[in-house]
Symmetry: C2
Subunit: 143 residues, 2 copies
C-alpha cells in the first residue's frame, strides 16, 4: 500500500460514491489503474465496506448511551454475544480491559426503551451481573 492508495482511501472515505474517473481527475493516474487499485483494496480487506452515515436523530434514535457490562461467568458469553450482535439498538460492542467486561454503545428512541433494554434484555435475558450507563449529551466528532 503506497501513498497513492492512501490518497484514494481518503477520497473514498469522504465520499464513497466517487467513481474511478472522478478520482482520476484529482490524482494523476489513469482510470483503469484507479479502478484496479480500489478492487485490490477491497480484496485485501483494507476497505471493509462501502457504507453511509445516517443522521440518528432523523432516524428516531434520540438517545445514544454507553453501557458498561459485567457478566456473571463465561457461561453466559455465548448467548450474550449472539443477542448483542442481533440487536438493532446496539451500535457497537467491545470487549474491554478494566473493571467491566464489555462496553456497549446503544441507540434508542426514548427512555422507556432504554429502561426496557437494561431491565429486560440485559438484566433478565442476558443475566448481566451489573451495568453502568452514561449518556452522550452531544457529539463533537464521530468518524
Amino acid at each position: 500500500m503506497d501513498n497513492i492508495d492512501l490518497q484514494i482511501l481518503q477520497m473514498l472515505k469522504s465520499n464513497s460514491r466517487m467513481t474511478s474517473s472522478d478520482i482520476s481527475k484529482i490524482i494523476h493516474l489513469s482510470v483503469p489503474s484507479i479502478a484496479e487499485r480500489i478492487r485490490k483494496l477491497e480484496k485485501k480487506g483494507i476497505i471493509n465496506q462501502f457504507t453511509v452515515k445516517l443522521n440518528r436523530k432523523a432516524m428516531g434514535q434520540n438517545y445514544v448511551v454507553y453501557i458498561f457490562v459485567q457478566l456473571h461467568s463465561s457461561a453466559e458469553t455465548q448467548l450474550f454475544r449472539k443477542t448483542i450482535i442481533q440487536s438493532p439498538h446496539v451500535l457497537e460492542c467491545h470487549h474491554t480491559s478494566g473493571e467491566y467486561d464489555y462496553l456497549l454503545k446503544v441507540a434508542l428512541p426514548d427512555l422507556s426503551e432504554l429502561e426496557d433494554f437494561i431491565t429486560n434484555t440485559l438484566k433478565t435475558n442476558l443475566k448481566v451481573m451489573r451495568s453502568n450507563t452514561f449518556f452522550i449529551l452531544s457529539t463533537l466528532k464521530e468518524e
Copy 2:
C-alpha cells in the same frame, strides 16, 4: 420517510456503491423514483455521508482505546474541542454525563504513541485534569 426509504437506506448502508438501477431491481420502483428519493434523503440530512469502513489493523492502527477526560474549567473547552477535532488519532469525541466530561475513542499504531497522546496532547497541551484509559481487547460489533 416511508418504508421504501427505509429499505433504500438499509441497502445503501450495506453497500453505498449500489446505484439506483441496482436498487430498482430489488424493490419494485422505477429508477428515477429511487434516484430522487436518494437525493431527498441526502438533502434532508438523513444521509450524512457516503463513506467507507476501513480495516484499522491494515491501516496500522493496532490499538483502539477509550479515554475518559475531565477538564479543569470551561476556559479550556475551546482549545480542547479544536485540538480534538483536528487530531487524526481521535475517532470519536462525545460530551457525556457522569463522572467525567468527555469520552474519546482513539486509534494508535503503538503504545509509545498512546503515551505521547496522553502525556503531551492531553495532559500538557490541553491541561486535562484527569483521564482514565481502557483498552479495547476485541470488537464484536461496530456499525
